[in-house]
Symmetry: C2
Subunit: 378 residues, 2 copies
Amino acid sequence: MTHDSQLTALLLVGESYSDQTLFYKTRFLAGDPFIYIERDGRRTLVVSSMERGRAEKESSVPEVRSFDDFGYRDLLRELKDRGRAFTAVLGRIVRESGAERLAVKGSFPALYADYLRAEGFSIDIDPQLLVRQRRAKGPEEIEAIEEAQRATERAAGRAVEMLAASEERGGVLYLDGEQLTSEALRSEIEVTLLRDGVDSAHSPIVAAGPGAADPHWSGDGPIRAGQAVVLDIFPRSKRTRYCADMTRTVVKGDPGPELRSMHQAVLEAQEAALARVRAGASGRSVHEAVQAVFARRGFSGGGPGPRYLHGTGHGVGLDLHEAPHVGDVDEELVENDVVTIEPGLYAPAVGAVRIEDLVVVTRDGYRNLTRFPKGFEL
Amino acid sequence: MTHDSQLTALLLVGESYSDQTLFYKTRFLAGDPFIYIERDGRRTLVVSSMERGRAEKESSVPEVRSFDDFGYRDLLRELKDRGRAFTAVLGRIVRESGAERLAVKGSFPALYADYLRAEGFSIDIDPQLLVRQRRAKGPEEIEAIEEAQRATERAAGRAVEMLAASEERGGVLYLDGEQLTSEALRSEIEVTLLRDGVDSAHSPIVAAGPGAADPHWSGDGPIRAGQAVVLDIFPRSKRTRYCADMTRTVVKGDPGPELRSMHQAVLEAQEAALARVRAGASGRSVHEAVQAVFARRGFSGGGPGPRYLHGTGHGVGLDLHEAPHVGDVDEELVENDVVTIEPGLYAPAVGAVRIEDLVVVTRDGYRNLTRFPKGFEL
């Protein structure tokens, strides 16, 4: 908590499949809205009566209560509207906590803020609320991320095996008599992840050829020999809810000189970036190391040639994209940040090369959680 | 839009993996925040420069612009904070639209509302914004839901086949020499869904025996002969983003008289509920039909015996749970609502029975999108 006054409560409201801060504080996974309030050391979770038993078993919060404890049923009868009854229950929970001020996240709904202000409470909206706490990962969190990372690498391994085993016919790759497509590789990656208990709700990128110059294109269609295939896999463990993230770029057949020099440059840029990673370093300096390598190799944009289109990395934890941002804004890395380092080059005529590792920031450097090889030509 | 004044703009801000209303209006899927504004017939999508190309190709919005068109880069240099730069860009987008009032959803962040109010705009927070529009599904939406429903049934079919093929040894079920567990059935369901391009980020419920009396327990461990197994599958199509939802309860071995009579009652309750479904009917009357059957059969709660713990259904579309609620609040069904009808009975000593179909509400009844049989004993 950033507010230590005894009259301030931390208030989180939402559902914890998408609100990872709510999951972080409660370790309770539910698809319907619930409420967490913390004041002066007292931590309370309030859920629907149907969820109460599960919340008592599964959550990390000592005190679990139900909406009905705050008169939800009567409010529903009176107001005839589930949303209004829920808001009124929220008001009662806050009043009972004894708080006068509420510390809430940047995403806290204006609907509730307006209601609570009208009820006499002050609302401190803090976009950084719990962001810093979530950054420095504990040993169990790092272990969860590594477990997801291992599954990611097993899945990437399957895709690379399939590409390596494929054969060229008329410029197109074939495997077991069928054209090898992005869809087939993606399906194999997803099934491999799932068998490891890892979720691919955000489908992996399997992007081959010129289309991959759009960094978020997920890729489709047959893969041609000599095309760079960007494999970017970023799943979430169903059990722990922690994410992993890795990108490799590979090619079956002759990539030609331009793709080859792009791959060399990206490898070198990643090494330069990693060399600057340590607690206390600025994310901007890491990003500038990448830009310097690309500039030196003549890939600094301007013409139609390969360019660098995005930041160098981001934090990974319960959210796939979380603080810090490693890019053109000064953000100091802290010990046990888990961040990606993912330079890439994008050329509309030929495609893309991106290489992404996941590392834990340490006092004097980093520990790389990624073990997958970075070879380009299969 | 519920506000037709020319000076009011509809404003949506968020990321469209979790904000389905944003996806509904833009058909653009992105994991990082973006902005949609609509005023006086002009519809504009504003995304990061990296997403612009993809947004132009994939979204349904005629006008696509980038944050940089509104000075994001300069703001970032000036403010040195991505969140504040984004908020300032939002203010500029709203100002350029010419709107004076903004219609926003219930979940609209207080952070943005406060900023925009300070800039002189009025904010109309409407929890019902676009909710009604999203309810009545068009033909393509119903087709997408049916496609997800077919995949759901193929996956349920695999689980039922495995249970049917299992053999009892010492009270426990075995398949291919191994104990048959909830985990094994869940994995088979998930892989089957995934091969159909359907996502199971929300893992299916495979809950056997007494633990299933907690309706949201997802289930684990070996399954015993005679235990009711609740299979509740609610995936989302990766391609269309539309959801499906189905529950069946099956048993291998002798369930005994109590579970058998629970299953009969739930079947009868579902038929009674379905008989009341039609455009213009109240969701409450559908729910009351279920309660009446359970009361008549002596399952109205009170003692430790089987009870009904939840509403009778909910809308399904881009969100798994969306309007209308079919339960103890008056909500009138409209033509082309797609809703679940899912009565259940829960008895801590023996377990649970729930049966759930997905139906389209029609003028004089409903069309059942569910084809899966409702047999109990395998």
